[in-house]
């Protein structure tokens, strides 16, 4: 028998409907894979028994012809999403033993559509990191690693690695500055961060509320459309979620892109850009040209200020959001001789180094006397970055860039660890999109000389994920990337 974990969500759904396979067989196949692939450290909590129980229910639903859109599809959930009755820690020591008493809206949407959860996925602590090395539970190992263990990217490293290693059919992830797209690129899988407001943030542990957005990581573009259909939608519990209609993203799959204008931003090809990344970009441009798209050169002049802007705004919001971890209401508690010392002891023991670094920076830029110089200034530059995109989209329909300037690097890479800014620079192509609130997808296009995946990013207008989906599908067909 063929390995059922090879199937995409789209293929599995059609075989389930035809009764060629059963949800129980499919779930068992993934549980087997989970067992075989523990070395990747992709999951931090498993609920295999519960998944199997739900697979039996899914089987009944198929028999009774009351199957829902994702009936019986085994998915993994990033540990940032609150899941009722299933431990949720954001991979932080400070949330030790936290068991949510409610379900996040995104995961509830997936449950309502019949998906079943295999467990919770590893991630950088509170989604702060680009290599999954800040997780309290240790780094995820990239399934593409050869002689030495490589990072899976971050912060959704567990989501990307688990999908790549076929430990789940698809995964939820979240993206504040590239946390869906960078790990997807590093692991040779596909992920989309939709427009800010598409998915409800209710029940997703907050990092930087004006930038955080949920999205799926999947085996391919078609699966991303299927998953996002379920995850997206207005939610009264999140006042920033959008009331705009959610189109059927699957309907864009297969549409032709003749005459579509693809913007190529000059600022994303700085001198010294890794030549392999540049040639992969050229390959993607060539594929889109052959599909009849028109290539347009555009400018995003404030690109070089996106990272510094992000590293003021994101820590500022994080320092405020993470004030809630007090040792009293949930998670870790380290006693002190008075209330203040209880707070200080708990937070000092509970947060990791990167999280503390960002809380300190965030507290500083919001403190009296510095607010205008840093925070207000960053918010003004943020507007200029958004204006850049508004102007660029006057002349093009979608923008094509690399996802990351580097290929996956080694776990414990000294250059990345000696100066936090070196790690931050890996987000150079992804953060602008979060600042402007736009949708963007990463998909694998080719391999580096080291045989490691390289991803490209498609950026769309706000609420125009559709154009991303149709472009990405054609690009995927042309690139013919072979997943592991």
């Amino acid at each position: 028998m063929t390995d059922l974990t090879e199937l995409t969500v789209a293929d599995a759904l059609s075989k389930l409907k035809e009764k060629e396979i059963s949800p129980v067989e499919l779930t068992q196949a993934y549980i087997q894979k989970l067992d075989n692939n523990k070395k990747y450290n992709a999951f931090v909590t498993l609920v295999a028994e519960q998944a199997l129980k739900n697979a039996y229910i899914a089987e009944q639903n198929y028999l009774n012809k009351v199957n829902r859109p994702l009936e019986g599809i085994p998915v993994g959930i990033k540990d940032l999403f609150c899941t009722k009755g299933i431990k949720t820690t954001a991979c932080s020591h400070i949330l030790d033993g936290f068991i949510p008493q409610y379900e996040s809206t995104v995961t509830q949407n997936l449950l309502d559509d019949g998906a079943l959860f295999l467990g919770k996925l590893n991630m950088d602590e509170f989604a702060m990191g680009g290599s999954n090395e800040t997780s309290y539970y240790g780094p995820v190992v990239n399934p593409w690693s050869k002689d030495k263990p490589l990072v899976a990217g971050g912060s959704s490293g567990g989501s990307a690695a688990a999908v790549a290693a076929k430990m789940c059919a698809a995964a939820t992830a979240s993206d504040t500055g590239g946390s869906i797209r960078e790990p997807a690129a590093f692991c040779g899988v596909t992920g989309i961060k939709p427009t800010y407001g598409r998915c409800s943030r209710y029940g997703i542990i907050a990092f930087a509320s004006s930038l955080d957005q949920a999205g799926p990581i999947c085996k391919d573009v078609t699966d991303c459309a299927i998953l996002l259909n379920s995850m997206a939608g207005y939610d009264p519990k999140d006042s920033t979620s959008s009331k705009r209609d959610v189109p059927d993203f699957s309907s864009f799959i297969g549409q032709d892109i003749k005459g579509l204008k693809i913007g190529i931003p000059e600022e994303y090809r700085p001198e010294g850009l890794n030549p392999e990344v540049a040639s992969c970009w050229d390959k993607a441009i060539q594929i889109l040209k052959e599909c009849g798209a028109e290539i347009v050169h555009i400018n995003l002049p404030h690109t070089k200020y996106a990272l510094p802007t992000y590293y003021v705004i994101a820590p500022a919001e994080a320092s405020s959001n993470l004030a809630r971890y007090d040792g009293i209401r949930y998670g870790l508690r380290v006693e002190g001789n008075n209330l203040d010392n209880l707070y200080i002891n708990t937070r000092t023991a509970g947060f990791g180094a990167e999280v503390k670094r960002r809380i300190l920076i965030g507290t500083y830029v919001l403190s009296a006397g510095y607010y205008d110089a840093y925070y207000l200034k960053a918010q003004k530059v943020r507007r200029l970055i958004k204006n850049d995109f508004d102007n660029a989209f006057q002349n093009c329909d979608v923008i094509l860039t690399p996802t990351s300037p580097v290929e996956p690097f080694a776990i414990g890479d000294t250059k990345m660890l000696e100066n936090p800014i070196n790690m931050y620079l890996n987000d150079v192509f992804t953060v602008s999109v979060n600042l402007a609130g736009l949708p963007a997808m990463s998909l694998p296009i080719g391999l580096s000389q080291n045989g490691l995946p390289l991803g490209m990013q498609l950026i769309g207008r706000a609420f125009d994920e559709g154009t991303i989906f149709k472009t990405a599908y054609q690009l995927e067909r042309g690139a013919n990337f072979v997943r592991i």
Binding site: Y330, I344, F351, A373, K380, R383, L384
Partner: protein, 95 residues
């Protein structure tokens, strides 16, 4: 604007974190590296530019001021590391 050890201590106190004395110099130097880097923003002319606090262009909706999820205090207390008589327990704050 470079920060000194005293400022790092003050900021840590505001954030309810402790930076041990032996880590103070490292923390300060990291802090200054990051601040120097973000100070690049000073090059950008932002005269007459409105700050952007949210990309959301839809008006935020206000819900009716009614209880929608009451009587869940027991659920809320379930994750408390210490609780008694239906309350969170904190160290004594009044002498």
């Amino acid at each position: 604007m470079a920060v000194d050890n005293e400022t790092v201590k003050k900021i840590a106190l505001l954030a309810k974190l402790r930076v041990d004395n032996e880590k103070l110099d490292d923390t300060k130097s990291e802090f200054n590296k990051i601040l120097n880097w973000v100070e690049e923003l000073g090059e950008v002319n932002t005269d007459n530019i409105e700050p952007l606090s949210s990309v959301n262009d839809e008006a935020l909706t206000l819900r009716k001021d009614i209880v929608t999820a009451g009587h869940i205090s027991l659920d809320i207390l379930k994750n408390a590391p210490e609780q008694e008589f239906g309350y969170f327990v904190v160290p004594k704050v009044v002498e």
